[in-house]
Symmetry: D2
Subunit: 142 residues, 4 copies
């Protein structure tokens, strides 16, 4: 991946967000149009007390957040989520990794895809979010 992108700077932005900070979300790799983020397990994000499955809403959170940061590696404009979709493929358990890639970063709309894997490598969920690019003056990253 592109070493030009400053992980520390991205992580400052991740943490400039109460819920992301509470979750302990972290960008661990980033390139042009792509980020990999880690979510450490904590019991409060689990769903049903009888299983050890992570709540579907947390997986949706990962889709929304990782997609936005993938887009931030391409443009510096602020973006606002229009909609988000998540598909659940297998129980999500333990520490999770989400990889997001931009599909298209247009002048007004940007879209990115995400895949969420369990520590063992299984595809737990995937999804997509669409964003409006907020500032008319599009600013590609240097």
């Amino acid at each position: 991946m592109d070493r030009q992108i400053d992980l520390e700077d991205l992580n400052r932005k991740v943490n400039h967000n109460y819920f992301n900070a509470w979750l302990g979300l972290k960008v661990v790799e980033a390139g042009h149009g792509e980020v990999v983020m880690h979510l450490p397990w904590r019991q409060e994000i689990e769903s049903n007390r009888d299983g050890n499955f992570i709540h579907g809403g947390i997986l949706g959170t990962l889709v929304d957040t990782a997609a936005a940061f993938a887009i931030r590696t391409v443009i510096e404009n602020a973006v606002r989520t229009i909609d988000m979709r998540a598909d659940y493929h297998a129980p999500a358990m333990g520490d999770l990794t989400v990889r997001a890639r931009t599909l298209k970063v247009g002048r007004t709309i940007a879209t990115a895809d995400c895949r969420i894997h369990n520590a063992g490598g299984e595809l737990a969920a995937s999804g997509r979010a669409a964003f409006i690019v907020l500032d008319p003056a599009r600013r590609p990253r240097q």
Copy 2:
């Protein structure tokens, strides 16, 4: 709404879930194919520290959870989310209310729609989730 449905029982199920319990989610009304749930504000669910907006992932959590409970008012079978979509219409702020209604509860697939309102009545988000009905022996609620 139907007074037959036992709110206390539904809320026991809501809370038999670590993340719902942490959020303080609560069913406040329920009828056949319909629930209304409340989410009290807490700072950890906010997004960007410069605004006071609730994180899109929390709104996705409300869609997934309220849709599942709307279906539980029609059948007693366990359900598992296949996929979920959330649309963001206006900034979500403060205490939220989510109203979910079933669209179709079939033998194998069940779908419900949700609308999330701010305390002031503005539509903040809406969404839909599709579920697989887990048990072949469908059990309509009495």
Copy 3:
């Protein structure tokens, strides 16, 4: 419904579109934020030759088209589809009716929901589409 909205004018716009015209799509009722459209059966829109089911892509076409026309009852701006979702609830057969209602018509994004019924009244499919409002000068209908 609102009789102010000129059905003939809406239907001219429906037919200013080759595929809609080939389908024979027609607006039969319209009000503020709402349209009802009819799709007459024809064999070429059917799916598998062993059933008499209408192709899922045709139902998606109804979602996209009816949602756009519901929005046109609120604003005169041109809109372009950002994304669309269709859920399939029961086999669609024969002449179909689609009812679309706006969820939110914002300055830049507009969203509408649709339900598609068989002639017998059964809910065959439902869906949602999100649109970008193309012209910065929003023009509410008089």
Copy 4:
């Protein structure tokens, strides 16, 4: 791609469907979990008469159809679409190519992703469909 998969047999199935046959849809490549299909241009599939854009509903049709055939390269069971989503990235014009890949083919639910390109290579649309696997006796292809 896998030459084991019989394109002629797949195309017989594509054409055992009135709408696909009317469209002239054709599988041109297939491998395990993947198909590439071609859609030849015809004027009736165009949208607005002032542009030469292909109707969004046709692009949704490609998502639904190509996703189903990608799954058919993995299992022989019949499938029924639960839901379909399409994102529109750029105007679709002329002959189109759609490439579909399975994300997960489970025992009861199967999901595949699609990308639709214009003849010039531009990404015009993309999408996803989720299917229920109809027969309890899963039959992997030999």
